[in-house]
């Protein structure tokens, strides 16, 4: 038994070492994608290009404009004519345009409501929403300042006695709210998913295509030996890739690993077992490597989208939220981020691990049972 299994493993590793494509696939994507996600995937919106047309041209309106100019959220571009706005937005030169009409300062002085028009390119609704939020923040800050000064002019000292609510921000686990801290641990789950699922599916389908699967089945090898021989290498590769990406995240992006390595490893083991099950399952329903690729794609895309990696699950429709309970990546993302940033342990994360373990058992059982049939 051990001789046969050992030989399966040796063969599998020799394949990985000798095959250029396999070698590349194992180690290049994790590193490249970690860097890409670390730098590019960010929910923060900085340096919003904004055009401002000031038809009031008063002291007050100039103060307001300079507030926008001082903010690190905006790149201000002053326009003389509002007719330039549509063209600038069409060409993506700016995504917002503010228009201050004449009479702005006069209305404020009279104690009336002054209007600041904001045109926003909402074709990217997320950026639009965040940009509007920033504009609102700057405008309210300016209005508050204006009111205080107005009060002080009428009755010096009154403003100081006005009641106020100040929001004291205490961002736990990520004090600077660095989005890399959020994304890098999440990327570990995504990459391990892609690598383990596709490699496992391809490895088995490839043997089917070149005829070695049938050849192996006429030897006295047992089904379990074959499947172990096919999965153990990818299990180890999954662990290795996790270590590699974690290392890159910690050393390069300085994402702190607050929690215990043991908890992280336990979650990763459960997760990789799920992915091996999925990969084997795909191999039992695919006759060729092309079919395996398309089938993997149909699994990978929704698995990543409905995992909470990017957009939060809580903002999805209720039905989809329920479906995410079937998605192993959903649990692994929680484990990764919680262990990395919150430093929690088994006492908090056991439900996630139990869910992944359950999915792993079901997927592996179904795949192993299907495997026999798929030989015929």
């Amino acid at each position: 038994m051990l001789g046969r299994l050992r030989q399966m493993l040796i063969k599998e590793f020799l394949h990985v070492i000798r095959d250029k494509r396999a070698r590349f696939f194992l180690f290049a994507p994790p590193v490249i994608q970690t860097l890409v996600f670390g730098y590019a995937a960010t929910l923060e919106i900085k340096h919003v290009p904004v055009a401002i047309v000031d038809y009031d041209n008063s002291q007050v309106s100039r103060d307001l404009v300079s507030r926008f100019q001082a903010s690190r959220y905006f790149e201000v571009r002053r326009l003389a004519d509002r007719r330039e706005i549509p063209d600038l937005i069409d060409r993506d030169q700016v995504i917002m345009a503010l228009q201050i009409n004449s009479g702005f300062a006069r209305d404020l002085r009279k104690g009336e409501t002054a209007h600041l028009q904001v045109i926003v390119d909402a074709s990217n609704s997320n950026t639009a929403l965040v940009g509007l939020g920033y504009v609102n923040q700057v405008a309210q800050g300016f209005a508050r300042q204006y009111r205080i000064e107005a009060l002080n002019r009428q009755a010096p000292g009154v403003a100081a006695s006005l009641p106020e609510i100040v929001v004291e921000r205490r961002p736990w686990y990520n004090p600077d709210m660095t989005s890399q801290w959020f994304f890098v641990p999440g990327v570990i789950g995504n990459l391990v998913l892609v690598i383990v699922v596709t490699l496992t599916a391809f490895a088995v389908v490839r043997e089917r295509e070149i005829g070695t699967l049938e050849q192996i089945m006429v030897t006295p090898i047992r089904r379990t030996e074959f499947i172990l021989g096919k999965t153990i290498p990818f299990f180890l590769i999954g662990l290795l890739d996790t270590a590699l990406i974690s290392l890159a995240g910690t050393l390069w992006f300085r994402v702190p690993l607050t929690g215990s390595l043991l908890v992280l490893t336990a979650g990763t083991v459960c997760f990789i077992l799920c992915m091996l099950g999925v990969g084997l399952f795909i191999s039992t329903v695919s006759a060729t490597q092309q079919q395996a690729m398309v089938t993997s794609f149909f699994f990978i895309m929704p698995a990543v989208i409905f995992s909470g990696f990017g957009s939060p699950i809580s903002s999805m429709p209720l039905l989809l939220q329920r479906l995410t309970y079937l998605n192993p990546l959903r649990y692994q993302e929680v484990v990764l981020r919680s262990v990395y940033l919150k430093g929690v342990g088994f006492d908090v994360l056991w439900p996630q691990m139990a869910a992944m373990a359950l999915i792993a058992v079901v997927m592996l059982t179904v795949s192993v049972l299907r495997f026999r049939k798929s030989l015929e």
Binding site: L14, I210, G211, T219, P220
Partner: protein, 323 residues
């Protein structure tokens, strides 16, 4: 192996795939030390039969015994005694010749010393001794198939199942291949082979003709040839197609088949037919060289069995039982 003199026995073996009965109640037996040929057109059920005997495909009905093991109960134990070699033996192209041999040897649990000795011997017989460290992917097609044979023989099987093993293999490699097979026969190995090359079928001790999952005939090549009703005439001509069209369906000719240098006809009365053929071909404005009676080949038998008059009462001649 048990005391039985048969190395392989099939009893009513049947396998259906959606829409087709690939193997239909097949029964025959292969004696120990015999080389037995299965011949038939594509889709006759040869490969399906082989895969069932190799234990990778479960039959729907019927039973089979290989090397004394009933496949329904003991397929796993039988696998140690069987070697199965399909049309393309599954090799790992990124592993070397030695690594491929080692892989299959270990799957069969061959001890190291035995593996070394046997692979040296087999590689030498295959004329591949100097390619041990070459990647299998860099070998020629014939070499690959010979390496497959080496891998298939590394565990010293008692029964070999060969499925069109020399299909598309160059003549030199084919010769090496057959030399190895004859050596095995000398050692008492039983060989069941399917083949598309009818000259190879004539090298077998006995041959079974398979058509649409059923066996038409089973006998020695010599007996089969002797039992052909009528005789085979060879017409040598440069352009056989119009001649075939002219003669097809003629009274007294049961089959007309194009061969390398002309046509083969199966006729009832060759002596009367030769002058008649000459005049008919000349009358039609066509030409031919020699017309003469030749010894029937397996190919003639086969075409006659499938297309000609003989096949209609063929089951009376089915001597394939041997049970």
């Amino acid at each position: 192996m048990s005391g039985s003199e048969n190395a392989i026995e099939l009893n009513g073996l049947t396998k259906s795939f959606p829409g087709v009965r690939a193997v239909d109640g097949l029964s025959f037996a292969v004696r120990r030390g015999e080389i037995f040929g299965l011949v038939g057109p594509d889709g006759a059920g040869k490969t399906t039969t082989m895969r069932m005997l190799a234990g990778v495909l479960a039959p729907d009905e019927g039973s089979a015994t290989v090397a004394g093991f009933d496949l329904a109960r003991d397929a796993e134990r039988a696998k140690h005694r069987i070697s199965y070699m399909p049309q393309r033996f599954g090799l790992y192209e990124e592993l070397t010749v030695d690594e491929n041999i080692r892989f299959y040897a270990d799957l069969f649990g061959v001890p190291r010393r035995e593996r070394e000795e046997r692979s040296a011997e087999l590689l030498k017989a295959a004329g591949m001794a100097e390619f041990r460290s070459r990647l299998a992917g860099k070998l020629s097609g014939g070499m690959k198939q010979k390496l497959g044979l080496v891998c298939a023989l590394i565990h010293t099987p008692e029964v070999m199942l060969l499925d069109e093993p020399t299909n598309g293999v160059d003549p030199v490699s084919r010769r090496d291949f057959w030399r190895i097979l004859y050596t095995l026969l000398d050692q008492g190995v039983t060989i069941l082979t399917t083949t598309a090359y009818l000259d190879e079928a004539e090298r077998c001790h006995r041959v079974a003709l398979l058509h649409e999952g059923r066996m038409l005939f089973c006998d020695t090549p010599a007996n089969l040839k002797a039992s052909l009703p009528g005789a085979v005439l060879s017409i040598v001509c440069a352009d056989p197609r119009p001649v075939r069209d002219l003669l097809a369906g003629t009274e007294g000719i049961s089959t007309v088949m194009i061969v390398g240098d002309g046509l083969h006809l199966v006729v009832r009365d060759p002596q009367r037919m030769i002058p008649e053929l000459r005049s008919r071909i000349a009358a039609a404005g066509l030409s031919c060289d020699a017309i003469e009676q030749v010894a029937p080949s397996i190919e003639d038998l086969f075409v006659e069995a499938v297309q000609g008059d003989w096949g209609d009462n063929g089951h009376e001649r089915d001597r394939g039982g041997e049970r």
